[in-house]
């Protein structure tokens, strides 16, 4: 009846009771996350032997990791690629992607200029729209099992994820 450690190399989808698919019910994920954390949270193991307390920390960490990985479309997509034995994109993007890289460069340049709140919001909206578009395309790619296309699209999402982070840092009042 003592708590055991998490198994080796757990399947994060299985852990969170989700189908191994890019389509995800975020609310179901959240419910599962809460109920799992209720069961294994270290606070519940305060009176148990140290070993079990340690295991509960491991479980709790793992559940956090699974939740974060599956909730975010980019990390979910990359994880799915990994499960399917597809390496994420490593090769330098250049000629073929020139229009896309130019766009990323321009948005980065706009973000780098000191600006007012309005233009920051404009950029934020642009990034959100692009991310939504890409998420739709990634969903479609996974649905028709086109992993190579999914890989390309997820690479594009990475550039926008960076922009999103930069924008968040800009918005934090200094």
């Amino acid at each position: 009846r003592a708590l055991q450690p998490p198994g080796p190399r757990p399947d994060l989808f299985r852990l969170m009771d989700c189908d191994r698919s890019f389509r995800l019910d975020a609310q179901q994920l959240q419910r599962r996350f809460r109920s799992l954390q209720r069961a294994v949270h270290p606070d519940r193991f305060g009176q148990r032997p140290p070993k079990e307390q340690y295991y509960s920390e491991q479980h709790s960490s793992l559940i956090n990791k699974a939740y974060r990985t599956l909730l975010n479309p980019l990390s979910r997509g990359l994880y799915l690629l990994e499960l399917n034995g597809v390496e994420p994109a490593q090769e330098t993007d250049c000629d073929a992607d020139s229009a896309f890289l130019t766009e990323i460069m321009e948005i980065n340049e706009k973000l780098a200029e000191p600006k007012n709140q309005d233009s920051l919001e404009e950029i934020e909206t642009l990034i959100k729209v692009k991310q939504e578009e890409l998420t739709k395309e990634v969903t479609a790619a996974f649905e028709r099992d086109d992993l190579q296309e999914a890989k390309k699209l997820l690479a594009k999402m990475k550039y926008f994820a960076n922009l999103e982070d930069k924008l968040k840092n800009k918005k934090i009042p200094s």
């Binding site: 330098t92 250049c94 980065n108 550039y159």
Partner: protein
């Protein structure tokens, strides 16, 4: 033997040659590259004189400190070199000069790719226009 000094150049703190050249100028080559794994983008430009020597270079990089340092160093190194000499610059040299840790080696690769892309663009612009083949008498 000689001690190998790792020159901790301050390309991180004080990058050189940040900016842009006129991409429409015939003697300017522009390279735009990206690293999909980390989402870094790098633009590197070279200005080449009539003798095929690189006389100026600029870069703009959005990414980690190692990527910025790599492209800064790259612009320093290409200046004064001919196009063919600059094509010989290897990512391993950049990484060594900056003492890049293993996880950042791809940044130096990105800089090497940016140099190559800029020089390829320059060469493309120098291609003479295709003329009608002269009829032999």
């Amino acid at each position: 033997g000689d001690a190998v000094l790792c020159q901790v150049v301050d390309h991180y703190e004080n990058p050189r040659n940040v900016g842009s050249l006129d991409r429409n100028a015939k003697n300017v080559g522009t390279g735009l590259v990206g690293a999909p794994a980390c989402g870094d983008v790098m633009k590197l430009q070279v200005e080449v004189d009539e003798n095929g020597k690189i006389v100026d270079a600029r870069f703009k990089t959005f990414g980690c400190g190692s990527a910025i340092a790599s492209s800064s160093l790259a612009t320093e190194w290409v200046k004064g070199k001919t196009v063919d000499e600059a094509l010989k610059i290897k990512n391993t040299d950049i990484a060594k000069e900056l003492c890049l840790p293993p996880v950042k080696l791809h940044c130096s690769m990105l800089a090497e790719d940016a140099i190559k892309a800029a020089l390829a663009d320059y060469k493309l612009k120098q291609d003479p226009k295709k003329e009608e083949p002269e009829k032999k008498a």
